[in-house]
Symmetry: C2
């Protein structure tokens, strides 16, 4: 029977509880339910009343391909609303093997209390003072590995999280022990920092495998599941070969690649920061073009990027990061962008928020447009614990406010990702309406708007976008609750029996009846939890809209954003 581990960070005590009302929930369904039930919606996100929840999906730890993601939930310091931030890494699978549905960090110590390391294994929990803090995640992860090593992997915060800055990530170690996987969005690292938890180390030594109610049925369904992923062109060819960066040329071609803080939809140097170019550089330098972010990933869209001397720089080098640090700031040197990605992982900062923050610094005249080394200094300033680091680490609006910039691409204070909503209106509806703040993963309408995956919906027309976004948001909630990588959606959308196969796996694992309808009902329940929390936190319908500058034309297609918030409320109905 899976349990919920609650840790009181003030007392440094823990309790192991039955799942009770939360039984059967995993991943995002569990984090959002706990946040909505237990966290006062009007509390300060850094107060003792907020809770930080780590939850593997219901299928995490099983043989199901690409099911090893983790959900991190809390009230967000960035948005002030509910947050589920999702990551790869190895912690999730180990939690599942330890039969933990969730770890919940509660309460908080005094602000000057020493940081702590929480270590979880099959015998229980130990909490002790953390080794000296104040260094980057790469160095710190090595120190933790030297001390706790072996089967231990961790979730940790960097200098940004230690300072409780609003763009702080929680980094998860990957299969090689590098802190390169991020629960990036919404400042979850700040919540962890406010609780003075530097790292959560999970060691599954001696733990058995997860249990199946019907092992044979699970094996059968999971084999079909592996086929489904293997047979789709995006998950089997495009993503493994070029990584998510395959999108650079595609989105640029579509006229939807936001350039220079969303001024244009095409970047004249897009080829320099494309997936194809990335692949070429990695191959030339002897890096790895394919790598999974977690054990059991069938897609392998990650990589290892090396510098000119052949030394490791970064991995998990995503399209979103390439765009945020590249076209969005007009930086076009791949090595500069790779160093920015590395620096963000090292400081524990969200790359999407940071790319937009850098753009604000450029708008405000703090650094010149397109200046990669200057941008790197901004990110590294977070590790200096001074005033400039505060301006950077608190994100897009905060930096904009420092320099009186009024062109701020955020929804619910979270910065927009790599698709201009004027040219991909379905994703604009998602940005506007998801309780998460501007978030492409919350309802990835780029599939139907641009990629002709799961249908075709004209990206420039308003028609059908609200219904599309709603369906995708609900489905995504279910994907995040299962522990799947979102990229399975490409294959699921185009494969008739995919939902049934997922339902069969859940049923065979848990010993319950579970149908495709139940999947969507679960996803809707998550949406309802998140909408309810946000309403009680003070969000109104008016908050479901893009900044007014999106009403101006975007070249080259000269499209505008023409949705009113009232037209999009059906998403939440």
């Amino acid at each position: 029977m899976v349990k919920i581990l609650r840790i009181n960070t003030r007392e440094r005590t823990f309790t192991l509880e039955e799942a009770g009302d939360y039984a059967g929930l995993g991943g995002r369904a569990l984090t959002s339910r706990i946040v909505n039930r237990e966290v006062p919606a009007d509390c300060h996100p850094l107060s003792a009343e907020n809770k930080l929840i780590f939850a593997p999906g219901v299928l995490t730890g099983t043989k199901a391909s690409s099911s090893g993601r983790i959900s991190v939930g809390a009230k967000s310091p960035l948005t002030g609303g509910i947050k589920e931030s999702n990551s790869g890494g190895v912690v999730s699978r180990k939690l599942a093997k330890l039969n933990l549905a969730a770890i919940v960090l509660e309460d908080k110590p005094e602000r000057d209390a020493p940081f702590m390391v929480v270590r979880v294994d099959k015998d229980g929990v130990t909490i002790e003072d953390a080794p000296a803090v104040g260094k980057g995640n790469y160095e710190y992860a090595k120190e933790l590995d030297a001390k706790y090593g072996g089967s231990a992997t961790c979730a940790l915060i960097g200098p940004a999280g230690e300072q409780c800055l609003k763009s702080s990530t929680i980094q998860f170690t990957d299969m090689e022990g590098r802190p390169a996987r991020s629960a990036g969005r919404g400042g979850m690292g700040a919540v962890m920092g406010s609780k003075r938890v530097k790292a959560v180390i999970v060691d599954d030594s001696g733990a058995g495998n997860v249990e199946y109610s019907d092992p044979d049925a699970f094996t059968k369904a999971s084999k079909r599941w592996a086929e489904i992923i293997r047979e789709h062109a995006i998950t089997s060819q495009a993503l493994p070969t070029y990584g998510t960066a395959v999108l650079v040329n595609i989105i640029n071609e579509a006229g939807a690649l936001p350039t220079k803080n969303f001024r244009e939809g095409r970047f004249d140097r897009a080829a320099d920061v494309s997936g194809e170019k990335l692949h070429e550089i990695i191959e030339a330098r002897g890096g790895k073009t394919r790598e999974g972010c977690h054990v059991g990933c069938a897609i392998q869209c990650s990589q290892q990027y090396l510098d000119e001397k052949g030394e490791y720089v970064t991995s998990g080098f995503e399209y979103e990061t390439l765009w945020a640090m590249g076209p969005n700031t007009t930086i076009s040197d791949m090595d500069d962008i790779a160093r920015l990605d590395r620096a963000c992982d090292d400081m524990g900062l969200d790359t999407i928020e940071m790319g937009n923050t850098i753009a604000m610094a450029m708008e405000g005249g703090l650094i010149p447009w397109g200046d990669g080394p200057a941008a790197l200094k901004l990110i590294e300033a977070v590790g200096e614990y001074g005033y400039l680091g505060k301006l950077v680490g608190n994100g897009t609006t905060y930096m904009a406010d420092a320099y009186g910039v009024d062109r701020i691409p955020v929804v619910k204070n979270q910065a927009l990702p790599a698709y201009d909503p004027r040219a991909v209106k379905g994703i604009g509806v998602t940005y506007s309406t998801t309780p998460q703040g501007a978030d492409h993963t919350a309802g990835y309408a780029v599939c139907q708007n641009v990629l002709s995956c799961g249908g075709d919906v004209d990206p420039h027309s308003k028609e059908g976008q609200v219904e599309l976004s709603k369906t995708l948001q609900i489905a995504t909630n279910a994907v995040d609750s299962a522990g799947f990588c979102l990229f399975v959606a490409f294959a699921v959308l185009d494969t008739e029996d995919a939902l049934q196969v997922i339902a069969d796996m859940v049923a065979a694992k848990a010993g319950v009846n579970f149908t495709p309808d139940d999947i969507m009902a679960l996803g809707k329940q998550v949406l309802d939890d998140e909408v309810d929390f946000n309403r009680r936190a003070g969000f109104s319908e008016v908050d479901d809209q893009l900044p007014r500058f999106f009403r101006k034309q975007l070249p080259p297609h000269n499209v505008t954003w023409d949705f009113e918030y009232q037209e999009m409320q059906a998403v939440k109905a």
Copy 2:
């Protein structure tokens, strides 16, 4: 016929319009109506779509005592809602004498365009590049006086406004040409800065007196009005003798003087920062204990505070400032606090917001509690145009966010003034519900809760507070629309014929029927405008509440804040 002067700050052009739909409105009624009608509620406050409005009251420029205040309106960069910020100074009366109901600054130039000076006189408007900026208001006002002098007085922004920081004031010169009067709250200086207007100079040379429809009736009513103010103990004795600082001992005695960021209701060194002490110091050093903030003020609650060498430091040294910089930060040296007040006027910063910001810096460990010189360095940093100044000038929440502080006394992102809402519940209802964000002047229930003025309502009980706050908010809107100083309310509340006398003055001035009922209807109309704008700007009912830490007990009376936002919505009904 009064006109509205509109200035396009991008084109540097102007138009002089008939009042049209706005005819008969003045002060806050006019600024809030224009904002609600003309400014898109979802625009960025620093964008070209925001407008900055200066409006004298409908009785400003007349013989009515204490009627020379000015309303400044815009969408607030601090709160994101509608804002009316009110000030003394000499500009208001001169605008009235020039027959201007309002100056409206529209559009905005490029962000690196030179700052401009707008000069208004009876012959029209001239707009020219401002003298070199980047210096404090005291020095700059002298330069302007040397250049434009004589009958010219001005509204100007300091280094904070130039940087568009969210606590920026607009300072108004007083009768001695000192920029010591502030439209302090809500960042109006940032809006002016975004429009690249450094100063608005108003010269009434050659203008006639304001016209009266029935001069004799006005003279009769205004004489009675002068008597009413002269006969009330607060307006004729307490305020002229001790200034608003008379409240320090009174509110401390009531257990409602917020101490060390709202931890206690009494300050053990309150006597050191009291009105009595202030009076003693000023007298001993040969300063002025009485001074009006505008021509025709019958109350004279201002003063001139000198340093130990007998040199002028500051004036308009208010209770709110003494509290914000004093008990709230545990600084208790009167000279330190006076220098902080001077520095805020010089930088163009709101003293209430800055006192709370300093408290956040102390909470966060940036400077020690009670350290006056360290606090002064923070304020002065705004004039250095560096990173620290951004953290300071953007106000309470911004500073708190830099250091992960979760005890932030704000409503709608505006910092609380000098009355703990747990011990003066009527003012707590005002803080919570006024569209202005936490603002004591919006409905000053301290009168009935503590001062036994205009009735008696138990400050610790919930009973009657919502009705009280509503009545006061509506009445205040009317006071602010007439151009009266809010302090006339003390006398009005205790004098049976006062409302009738005010109505008579309006009627005699404008040649319209006007009754006490019309006064309240006008006030309600203003509230409706402001509530409507905020709703369209994204505020929900949930935003009408105090931070959760006010639910904890406040010594010495161990009272808590126990209103739910739902219970207070009747204010806006």
